[in-house]
Symmetry: D2
Subunit: 344 residues, 4 copies
């Protein structure tokens, strides 16, 4: 009774992570994985962690056979061109690219610099962040992936949003620090180890495309998203600054955070008075679908610093996508996502 | 029908890794975890990856209650002092320390610099490396852990040993490179990040205690084990040099390696002609119980370079220990050890 | 005609860096270096880069002999207790600790949690950042060191301050990312490599003591200084957010930055349209006294993101201190500080 | 009275390091730096550490003007094709590539897989390692560079070679661990940070071309050179195994090492009983021309483990090349090479 699944673009990092998760998923059978650049190779030659776990080879996306569920992890802009063809081959689609994250075609064009190739499809996709759209996802056939920097920021803001303390016009400054896997398997000259090791490199001060996902999901107009590369492979850490309404007592903050982590299985509140791990830290989240959130709040000034740490390839990409599949299929939300991460 | 398990010394790295594995093991219930230094704290305060996974607290080892199986991850020398008491509390014992790895009391005293506190117990323990002692482990009640550097070397040599090509008198030079988690959670001044990052530090040229485990398990007299710290948290990589009997053709090497990886579920042969991952590399093994082996062989000279990469806390400590439990209990050998590692 | 110099607390990281610089300084002879914890050891046993460069040994600070200039790199709070004694032994004093950075005794008590031991001395010290106090330093006998996080932030703000665009009441959010050498040579359990590698750990959201130095030097009342540890040994990177007065055109920003880097020999403007190094990055500053500054500015909204990258032990500590000595003595400002840093 | 110098191939890592050294060299004026791929760019756009240090731009190697001394840092195989033309333009030549390292044309062809393009030039070049050829270098007009892995191994063996304890037929196993800058600025897919971070990757078990330089310089026939990539940018560490003649007492080893480090200004003996830095470690050598050597010796068996740590771009490339220039010109050997490296 297992569900057949194919992955388009499985030789990239997000695709490989999807494959790792789905091969061990108790309800799923992976039937096809495609890659144009590695056509005919065993998947374990590209993703060496999967040696002895599968004898699948990369196939041609043009030869895709019908499946129950299709995951697409193609470069941005590719999937929208063929969404009609793929929708004819799969009952359920989860597209990890940025193609269907924004609901508004004009916003898409503004942020991505070109008109959308299939604007009539935009409204059919649900934004694939379960902590924001769980009920809609249970009914969805088409789901988009999420931007990893947007996800770290959105989850940092979720308790504040749910508590009704976010105002559309207020300024939110999100400082996100990220690892090198975010750049993808292709890399560029700045990605080679000798140039990329030991950096603290603020490569985008504002204007990054993921900003649009924060604005859309949190209903904000004034978001400054700043991205800084640090020396790490997996991980994204959002430190988000905003000013709360005057007079809000600390205990209400605690209530807002506790309510959110009780409701969502993959959210954890990290706010300890002692020990090494007093705040969220992506160090311990590699391979895990948890998003660790936390905060510091100055009652006198109302200034809040909200934290969220994730593995950018998991909760920021493949993990959330599998979590969406679980919801779409009516399975336990955490199925196949049990790995808790490592210490140290 | 699950088996009750306790872990002594669960606040260290190997103890924490055991706990991570056993909490998700389908046949096991962890009932107690002890730590003198963290008495009364939640385990997730020390091992933050386990937050939301357990509400266990560290208890006092003096208060240990009877259990089916006891894992001990105490500092070397501690467990042997109380082995009688602990044997009265647990049907099965797996001791990860070095206390019961050597079968010979004289060898123990020579390598560890002090007489053994319970020499009559030495013969009751089976050396806990399933690839060397699978059948004995199925019958065992008492099992020792393994040294991580010894394990990387022993598994690198296993195909050669099984093929009968190792001679007791021949010189074997094992160059093992290791990550910082090997030093344990206590650390020392040389372990702080500013001093330990970016190192290539050959801290033991020969004479390390793990040498004794290689000599014992491979039946060798002349082993040079050299240990070098590199900038990595988890991982041990053995590069082992030896000269094979003259005239041995390459294809026999291939046969020897293929036979071994087919027999053992956690061994994989990595020897690719192209791609990034052509040889074993601990990078992709963090959290995994796999040991990736490989070799390069010069047919003309008979010189062999044998490789083995492991996660020192998994196959080199906690992972092998759980694999032993599975064998002792008659369960599937790979149970609870399915995590394949991450890429990248 | 060389000047005799002693260093108190020379076994720490800042003290060691001072020693490296002063041993090669053409106008200086280092006559004494003290350390209580390493008394009698050769300095190269603690600072192994100095092997074959000096045969100095660590001596007892209680035995300090008169010198022309005294550098103090003691733990915070120590030097103020004996400032009178030391002032009797040295004509010039540069104290790298936080003891004499704040001019106001009440501010000191508020930020450091205890009354100052020698408040009458506070007014005699000049804050040791040449880019802010060059003329005063030329006349000074007593100079304080600087906080590294404050320095990165102050230098990021300097062009804006000089242009008159900073208002005392405006909010400034300074996100500083730092390497592990900032924690000092003593370390703590959270500093050991296995726990400290791969982190992105926001250990102080606001309220850090260095905030007081930014408020004092930039004349600001509302500064949020947020500190995040990343995986790097040397380096501090400030990403500073603020809103500029409406209508300020981009070209005026360029003018403000160019003016500042032309005036100060150790400031460089990094703002390239292409290549790998388009923005300031501490990666290339290890061992260098340069502070690389840069900015991104949104003309429409007036939002400015100002950057500054430094080596926390150089421009953020020992390098600025030697630069101050050069000014105090009337020497060329860059003397002994010529090392440009490495690529890659 | 300064000497004019040009650098061919100055956009690579070794070329950039040469440029850094020569810009600060008191006897040298750099007049031209060439790069085909970065033609017309400022050198600081590629080597950002040199911003504010030079306004040189990369020029076309075809336009090279006559100079006193020419450094070539071209890809292997390029310089030999045009050595006649370049010899017409420069009185002194130092070629950092592998083109003129081997004296024997047959050996060149065997190790490099193609006949040499200018075999009659081979005998005119002196191998550019001053610790092996100081007197010849003082008379030389043409000097080759050195292989970094060969240099670490050769210097590890130098005390043994000088003492007359090396026999041509004995087996020498050199395990060299290296950083990512060795791969050069071009990189390849395996060099991108996400794939290259956290590795321990033995990419060459034997047969590497640098082996030929060890055989030539040490007069050995049986050298196994094994190369392992670790997570570090700059550094090469050789751990060399060999068996010494029976009966050699430890004190003679000490004498042999002490004699060598007294003779050579850039060699240091590191062999401490305590402290963090008891053995050579490239961590503290970034940017320095020192080679730190050391050893462990088992008097009973005669087994020696010899160490050498270097910065592969300095003592293993550009630093040795400048040291050679100093000798060729009759200058102080250490001129322009004073930077001692950093701690931590």
């Amino acid at each position: 009774m297992s569900v057949s699944v194919a992955i388009l673009g499985a030789s990239g990092y997000a695709g490989g992570e999807l494959l790792r998760l789905l091969l061990d998923h108790p309800q799923v059978t992976v039937t096809q994985v495609t890659s144009r650049s590695h056509l005919g190779e065993y998947v374990y030659q590209v993703h060496p962690n999967l040696r002895k776990r599968t004898t699948l080879k990369f196939s041609d996306p043009a030869q895709l056979q019908p499946v129950d569920a299709l995951f697409a992890a193609l470069p941005h802009g590719e999937f929208q061109k063929e969404v009609d063809r793929y929708a004819g081959l799969a009952t359920y689609i989860i597209d990890l690219s940025a193609d269907f994250r924004l609901r508004d075609a004009a916003a898409y064009e503004r942020w991505y610099g070109a008109p959308h190739a299939a604007p009539h499809w935009l409204g059919k996709f649900v934004y694939g962040l379960p902590e924001f759209h769980r009920e809609a996802l249970r009914q969805a056939r088409y789901v988009s992936g999420v931007g990893c920097n947007a996800t770290a920021t959105n989850l940092a803001l979720l308790p504040i949003l749910r508590a009704g303390w976010l105002h559309p016009d207020q300024q939110v400054i999100a400082e996100v620090k990220v690892g090198s896997s975010e750049a993808g398997a292709e890399g560029n000259i700045g990605s080679i180890h000798a140039e990329r090791a030991n950096v603290i490199r603020t490569y985008s001060a504002f204007g990054h495309r993921h900003t649009a996902e924060i604005m859309q999901e949190c209903g904000l107009k004034n978001v400054v998203l700043t991205l800084t590369s640090v020396d790490l492979v997996r991980g994204a850490m959002a430190t988000v600054h905003l000013d709360l309404p005057p007079g809000l007592p600390m205990r209400q903050l605690w209530q807002a955070y506790r309510a959110v982590v009780q409701e969502h299985p993959f959210l954890r509140l990290v706010k300890e008075a002692r020990g090494i791990y007093r705040v969220p830290d992506p160090k311990i989240l590699a391979g895990s679908n948890y998003a660790d959130i936390g905060f510091e709040y100055d009652e006198a000034s109302g200034h809040l610093v909200a934290f969220c740490a994730i593995d950018n390839l998991m909760k920021g990409a493949a993990g959330s996508a599998v979590q969406c599949l679980n919801l779409m299929m009516g399975w336990e939300e955490t199925l196949g996502l049990e790995f808790p991460g490592l210490h140290p």
